[in-house]
């Protein structure tokens, strides 16, 4: 409140004590030194020029940039493989964007956060999965020997995976693919054969549809203010192996130091199936299972740490080029990120 009157009002003929004067002056000095309010202003409009810059808003930025090629994972922020939880500093001591500022009074912040990331690796865990996901068998009526897809590939298997590639010798299908000039061996319309046709492998490419692709790894991001979550992305899967997220949100802040952090979590997500008891258990229609009991989810999207990556050579039973080098596991790195924090003073 800022309506002030002199404390001491001497009567006529009274001698003024110096301290009375001190008291009366103090009333006004204290008011002017930081306690004026709108009551002290006459009825006029303040002009914009009377308000200094950053009277109502301040803005901050923190950035992360890859130090090299995006295909080199270590040039960015490496998503942790030790935990499926959120991390803010990676194994190379690289940090996700962070803003630390002192708010002169209570207010709120608006955050804009972008992060771009890449995945590299087959996503396979072991040789058994290599057999399940990468083996391409013949598709009747075409006849060919087994092919194993994925030599040195950094892509996961999924969708169409082709078996026609860079086989080293024509007519010698093997681990590195069916030679494009190979003539397809096809069963005849009368059921005899198969016989070698004039159809070239490159024109009628063989391969495999992998409906259940290796799209089970994911990352998610969040922005926190003093530990309180402002916004979170949800899981973003590796099927889009180069991708980005944009998060925005608003949260109140107190006067004093505030820390706005960004964090990332990576995980392998798998649903765990359970079964009702006994092999003769009834299904939802009340029928008893003939061979298998009804299965059910006991838990969906269980997060496990990302698998370690390793290049490993498998010997296959393909007739030629039998050794196939597979990049087991998968890596994820955040290669670019930008955090903008606007502090609005209340």
């Amino acid at each position: 409140m800022s309506l002030k009157f002199p404390n001491v009002r001497p009567d006529r003929g009274e001698i003024i004590e110096p301290d009375d004067l001190n008291q009366n002056l103090k009333q006004f000095v204290d008011e002017i030194n930081g306690n004026l309010t709108h009551d002290n202003l006459s009825d006029f409009d303040l002009e914009q020029s009377m308000f200094k810059d950053e009277t109502f808003s301040e803005v901050y930025q923190s950035s992360l940039e890859a130090t090299g090629d995006w295909d080199v994972m270590s040039s960015g922020f490496i998503v942790s493989k030790d935990s499926a939880g959120y991390t803010r500093v990676d194994s190379n001591d690289k940090s996700m964007p962070l803003v630390n500022f002192i708010a002169e009074r209570d207010g709120y912040i608006i955050v804009d956060f972008t992060a771009s990331f890449v995945w590299r690796g087959s996503g396979l865990l072991n040789e058994e999965e290599f057999e399940v996901y990468h083996k391409i068998e013949k598709h009747y009526p075409v006849d060919h020997k087994k092919i194993y897809w994925g030599n040195k590939s950094m892509l996961p298997a999924g969708g169409w995976i082709g078996s026609v590639g860079a086989g080293t010798v024509p007519d010698s299908p093997g681990g590195l693919g069916y030679h494009p000039r190979d003539k397809l061996s096809v069963e005849a319309s009368d059921g005899s054969g198969p016989f070698t046709t004039s159809l070239k492998a490159r024109d009628f490419p063989q391969g495999r549809w992998l409906v259940d692709g290796l799209d089970r790894f994911a990352v998610k991001f969040r922005v926190v203010s003093n530990g309180n979550e402002i916004c979170e992305s949800g899981w973003v899967y590796n099927g889009v192996d180069r991708n980005s997220v944009f998060l925005t949100g608003v949260i109140p802040v107190r006067a004093g130091r505030n820390e706005i952090r960004t964090e990332v979590a990576g995980a392998m997500l798998q649903s765990i199936y359970g079964t009702s008891s006994g092999i003769r258990a009834k299904d939802s229609d009340g029928d008893k299972g003939q061979f298998f009991p009804k299965s059910l989810y006991s838990s969906r999207d269980v997060a496990m740490p990302l698998p370690k990556s390793e290049a490993k050579t498998f010997s296959t039973d393909a007739s030629q080029d039998p050794d196939v080098t597979i990049n087991l596991g998968i890596d994820c790195a955040v290669q670019a990120s930008n955090l903008v924090v606007q502090y609005r003073k209340a």
């Binding site: 030194n33 308000f51 992360l64 996961p156 319309s189």
Partner: protein, 310 residues
């Protein structure tokens, strides 16, 4: 800051007239500023309208938007302005290659310390070209990010223009790619037409044989791939729809050019068909290798800037 201080009078001492007069001097020529007011001392009615975030005196071009722009696929990095190891790009800028719509916003008369927030958003459509039809096929990816054009005006940012000062803002860069693709249309289980043309005795399993085999037959009709309206288009299963949004704070530095433009640049490429180009095949001759380099589409594009001053 005008904190004021007055002399303190001592008890039982006679006040000198000059001392008395001087005590009021600080009140005679005061120049108040924000430090003299209590926090939250001004009511909404005393704050001028449109005072915050509305200063446009430095902004010559506030917004740039367009509905759709195609970006052609590249086979090398010549026109890639966003190479992560480069702090500048001196190559040319082309609307259908790396600078969609020659978009930009422009700031002039800038002084050190002034701050601007730049936001951009758009959608990016990338067709499934069947890039993994062959063993070593790799699908293309799309790069996009904000770029700073120091000292350049709209007249400078023309088709085919270049400036060695063009500076990619790497923290805003994003890449997009769907890892999976379909197969370039061909009846890989052999079509009736291919059988009749090449080896009439060959068994075929296309839709002419049995409609149940449609899943093995993506020729979509008798005339084969060349006439397939779905080729490399909506019929393919892994077309990418991507959403790009970013925000960037530009703070004018000491010695920076007082004119700055900002825009979005991009690049589309990095693909490998895993097979030499095949211009002879198609239709009854089977599959044409993924040579139809369909452009990507940037759409619903908006670039916007505002100043953070008060």
């Amino acid at each position: 800051m005008p904190y004021i201080k007055v002399p303190e009078f001592q008890s039982n001492e006679i006040i000198d007239p000059d001392q008395f007069n001087d005590a009021f001097l600080p009140f005679t020529n005061m120049n108040l500023d924000g430090e003299n007011f209590m926090d939250q001392s001004l009511g909404p009615d005393q704050i001028p309208a449109n005072i915050s975030l509305t200063d446009t005196s430095n902004i010559t071009r506030t917004v740039n938007s367009f509905g759709s722009q195609s970006i052609n696929m590249q086979t090398d990095f010549t026109f890639d302005p966003l190479q992560s190891t480069s702090s500048s790009y001196s190559g040319i800028r082309k609307s259908k290659v790396n600078h969609p719509g020659l978009n930009h916003i422009k700031l002039t008369g800038l002084e050190a310390g002034e701050k601007f927030i730049i936001r951009v958003s758009c959608a990016i459509d990338i067709q499934d070209g069947g890039w993994r039809t062959y063993y070593h096929g790799i699908p293309p990816y799309f790069k996009i990010g904000l770029v700073q054009f120091p000292g350049e005006s709209s007249a400078d940012l023309t088709e085919g223009s270049s400036s060695a000062l063009t500076k990619p803002l790497h923290s805003t860069v994003a890449h997009y790619r769907v890892a999976f693709t379909g197969k370039v249309p061909s009846a890989s289980s052999i079509s009736q037409e291919a059988s009749l043309e090449h080896d009439p005795n060959t068994k075929y399993l296309d839709q002419n044989y049995n409609s149940d085999y449609s899943y093995r037959d993506n020729r979509f009709g008798e005339d084969g791939e060349d006439y397939d309206p779905r080729t490399n288009k909506s019929g393919m299963p892994f077309s990418g729809y991507h959403s790009y949004t970013t925000a960037y704070l530009h703070e004018q530095g000491v010695g920076d050019n007082s004119t700055q433009a900002f825009g979005v640049m991009c690049w589309f490429g990095g693909q490998s068909r895993g097979m030499e180009s095949d211009g002879d095949s198609g239709g009854i001759d089977g599959c044409r290798s993924p040579s139809k380099d369909e452009p990507a589409i940037i759409r619903d594009f908006k670039l916007f800037v505002y100043q953070v001053k008060k």
